[in-house]
């Protein structure tokens, strides 16, 4: 690890510690208030943050000039900061956020069919806090993800001392088959596998248009579902108020293909469908997109 990286990690840890301390004494609202000047200074003087938000914001608001873009960045980062505060707050005070799940009964019915369910979601809204809602499902829930236990920005379930672990079993994507074997086995047992469909970290992908430019999307969710004949349920979370969030089922489909030569076509068609759902979501919640790097150049 380089000295610069170590310093960055330490500064990050100090920043997080400061916010946790504020939350401890002043609650969630206190941390929200603290967030505004911190983010404003960051957005005023940090050039990196504008570079990080520009790929998305310039596509979402193509007509916005420099001043509007500055405010877009401010709103985007404050929104992101509030989600991080919520995550810590939920870890400290479980049940302190009220969640609504639009389509929960439909999800229960799909689980009851016993074919397994691929829960496809994205890094939007307060997705991590919303995952707590999966606690009560009548099937084991797995998350196919890269899990960094050493990360400074802890998952809420790492912070909650009453928990013995996350509300789901993590299938780590590091490894020769990217966790696909474990995920397949789980679906075959009729269980639920949650996959992030927006961020390509590893594995297979297809390129489809997203907000007007081609972007690579992971396609493992559609491949997995098609092999075991499981439904894909697109669930996205949105923060709807200081203490409220909403999970909504945006679509349900069962991918399939006749033979190997048609597989690529099928994967692209479903990734396109998912990209269109994300665009629809972002029309409703434009500042709840939290992928701060240039996806389109991946």
């Amino acid at each position: 690890m380089t000295k610069q990286w170590t310093l960055k990690k330490r500064l990050e840890a100090i920043g997080h510690g400061f916010f946790y301390l504020t939350m401890h004494f002043l609650g969630q609202l206190g941390a929200y208030v603290l967030l505004v000047p911190v983010v404003t200074v960051y957005v005023l003087f940090g050039r990196g943050i504008h570079r990080a938000t520009a790929p998305y914001l310039s596509r979402r608001f193509p007509a916005h000039g420099r001043v509007d873009r500055w405010f877009d960045t401010l709103r985007n980062i404050i929104s992101f900061g509030q989600v991080l505060v919520d995550r810590g707050w939920l870890g400290m005070k479980a049940g302190s956020l009220e969640g609504e799940f639009d389509g929960y009964d439909r999800l229960l019915d799909l689980i009851k069919q016993g074919k397994g369910v691929v829960l496809l979601t994205a890094h939007v809204g307060n997705w991590q806090s919303a995952l707590a809602k999966l606690d009560n499902l009548p099937a084991r829930v797995h998350a196919l993800m890269k899990y960094d236990q050493a990360a400074v920005a802890k998952h809420y379930f790492d912070l909650d001392e009453r928990r013995s672990g996350p509300p789901f079993e993590i299938i780590n994507i590091d490894g020769p088959f990217g966790g696909m074997i474990e995920a397949t086995a789980a679906l075959q047992r009729g269980e639920v596998v949650t996959i992030m469909g927006d961020r390509l970290t590893k594995g297979s992908s297809v390129t489809v248009d997203f907000l007007g430019s081609p972007m690579r999307f992971p396609d493992t969710a559609y491949a997995l579902a098609s092999m075991v004949d499981a439904p894909v349920v697109v669930v996205l979370a949105a923060k709807t108020g200081r203490k409220t969030y909403k999970l909504r089922i945006w679509d349900v489909f069962t991918p399939g293909f006749e033979d190997r030569s048609k597989r690529g076509e099928m994967l692209t068609a479903h990734a396109k469908k998912f990209a269109e759902i994300l665009e629809k979501y972002l029309r409703q919640y434009p500042y709840q997109w939290y992928n701060f790097f240039d996806f389109w150049r991946q």
Partner: protein
């Protein structure tokens, strides 16, 4: 064991539709993934499903996958060992 290997080769060619190959083209010690037959992680999913469907053997995790998915020899051995 030879019969099982032949079944596996036919399964690969007929059901996974590996292009331009016949069962006779697949060598017992030819790597299934990467160089060799060129299967990828998405194919691993299909292989897990097919092995379960045809031989009622579950490949449940990466360790078992690493053991089974080396080549036709290793896959046949894994199925023999784990058949009910």
């Amino acid at each position: 064991m030879d019969e099982l290997k032949q079944q596996l080769k036919e399964m690969l060619v007929n059901e996974m539709k590996i292009q331009g190959m016949t069962p006779a083209d697949i060598k017992d010690d030819e790597p299934l993934f990467g160089d060799g037959l060129g299967l990828d992680s998405l194919d691993a999913v299909e292989l897990v499903v097919l092995v379960n469907k045809h031989f009622s053997v579950q490949i449940a995790d990466m360790e078992q996958g690493k053991e089974a998915f080396v080549n036709i020899n290793s896959l046949a051995q894994f199925i023999e060992k784990n058949k009910a």
